[in-house]
Amino acid sequence: MLEVTDLVVRYGRATALDGVSLELAPGEMVALVGPNGAGKSTLVDTLSGIVAPAAGRVVLRGRLAQVPEGRQLFAELSVADNLALGAWRSGRGRAGRDPARVFEVLPDLRPLAGRLAGTLSGGEQQMVAVGRALMADPDILAVDELSLGLAPRVVADLARHLRELNAERDTTVLLIEQNARLAFDLCRRAYVLESGRITASGPCVQLAESPQVARAYFGGTTEGAGDPVPGGARDP
């Protein structure tokens, strides 16, 4: 579904991504974890075509839609308008802009349709951002920092929606997260990105037990997931 090979991205003289390779199979839910400044958002912006790579290869079979870090809604427009604009590139005309199919997946959005996006709570905005990405009918959903700045209960709710999408609609999910506990709970496989390089990858269970990863992301404990998100990961 997605193959990234030896990807290099530079901003001027600074190298943001240095030989990154990863792959996603159809229906997988894969995590990409790493600290601030590791290059996670640069990677997903490159996959979205916002950033041009200096070298390497990205093979994408299908459509990728991104839920960007910080939600990035159109604050002055209504929720319905935000959702409709998510279908801009779908090329399905007026029917493609009907948010009914997103309301089926995210029913909490329906009563918010007429509200201005800028007036919503953080959790509601994140849900709109997910809904807007879904309006593009993506084969791969790249979610950048789902949990950023949100209360644990709200994150658990959003995580449940993501899992349902993955399980029931077969949407491939790339979850880009600083919160490794959440990412490892939701996903079966993960990549660790540090300073623009993939430093570890494999099943989340194994990564969580790795002393290096545990020290960096779980405060030195190998007990892993902490507050678990109900449901766990599914097989691709």
Partner: protein
């Protein structure tokens, strides 16, 4: 009473012409974040072109439409130069539009000379409550109201209008959604050109237009646009009307030689008052 009504309707028409110029500023700024100081040029180009075409025997209607389309094309060219290079900061684009406006003087003098041009569009006057009002004033008011209603519908209801607003609201998210932000910016410049051109063909029958008329048009249009924060067409219309009526009353009851200065001072006072109210609200304890 007759004089008052004459000044009022004259001022409303004048204000509508300012508002049309302002709408061009707003259309461009709300999408691109650029203050387009070539906005007055679009009106001048259209006014001069319409006069030229009518002088060559083209019928009314066709001549004005062609002139407005030319202004739209000029707007597109200004847009290509001002924002065509990705990453150009809005301040740099502003300076580019200023430079293009000055460059336009030379082109306009070469094509149309340096003498003012005017033409008659809708001749005659009507009597309203004993006040003789030029029909052209009523045309300006009617066209402006229809244009602003259309702009409101376009930005508020149409998918394309919302995509244009999205580009201004969050260009990064717009790009993620697949919207070509650059193309939308150029569309906004073309729209700004059309709106400026519309103002130009409506104003030229009332006041002769020359190559350097852009300064007065842009100054008043910019003041009206600022009233709406350069982003809200409805408030720009209100700003234009306040400015136009103030100018007409100053010219009628005091002196025409400083009507613009007094009207702009009034606008400044209103904006300072509005800004101070916002601060007061912000300072109120929660």
């Amino acid at each position: 009473m007759s004089a008052f009504l004459t000044y009022l309707i004259t001022g409303l028409a004048l204000g509508c012409s300012f508002a049309l110029v302002a709408s061009g500023f707003v259309a461009i700024h709300r999408v691109t974040g650029v203050v387009n100081f070539a906005q007055g040029t679009f009106a001048v180009v259209a006014g001069l072109m319409a006069g030229s075409l009518l002088g060559r025997g083209l019928p009314h209607g066709l001549a004005e439409i062609l002139a407005i389309l030319l202004a739209g094309a000029v707007g597109l060219v200004v847009g290509v130069i001002a924002i065509g290079k990705r990453g150009t900061p809005p301040l740099a684009s502003l300076v580019i539009t200023l430079g293009l406006g000055i460059l336009a003087y030379a082109v306009e003098i070469i094509i149309w000379g340096d003498q003012p041009i005017s033409f008659q569009m809708v001749p005659g006057s009507v009597d309203i409550a004993g006040a003789p009002i030029l029909r052209q004033y009523l045309v300006v008011i009617a066209v402006a109201l229809v244009t602003f209603a259309g702009l409101g519908l376009f930005f508020g209801r149409s998918y394309l209008g919302k995509a244009l607003t999205a580009c201004a609201s969050n260009p990064y998210a717009a790009r993620l959604a697949g919207i070509n932000v650059m193309r939308m910016g150029l569309l906004a410049f073309a729209l700004g050109g059309l709106l400026g051109g519309l103002a130009g063909v409506l104003v030229t029958p009332l006041q002769p237009v020359a190559f350097d008329s852009d300064v007065a048009l842009a100054t008043n249009g910019f003041a009206a646009a600022i009233f709406g924060g350069l982003n809200r067409p409805g408030l720009a219309l209100v700003g234009g009307l306040v400015l136009g009526v103030a100018e007409a009353f100053v010219a009628g009851y005091l002196s025409g030689s400083y009507q613009t200065e007094v009207a702009l001072a009034l606008m400044l006072a209103i904006m300072i008052w509005r800004a101070s109210r916002r601060v007061s609200v912000a300072e109120e304890p929660a």
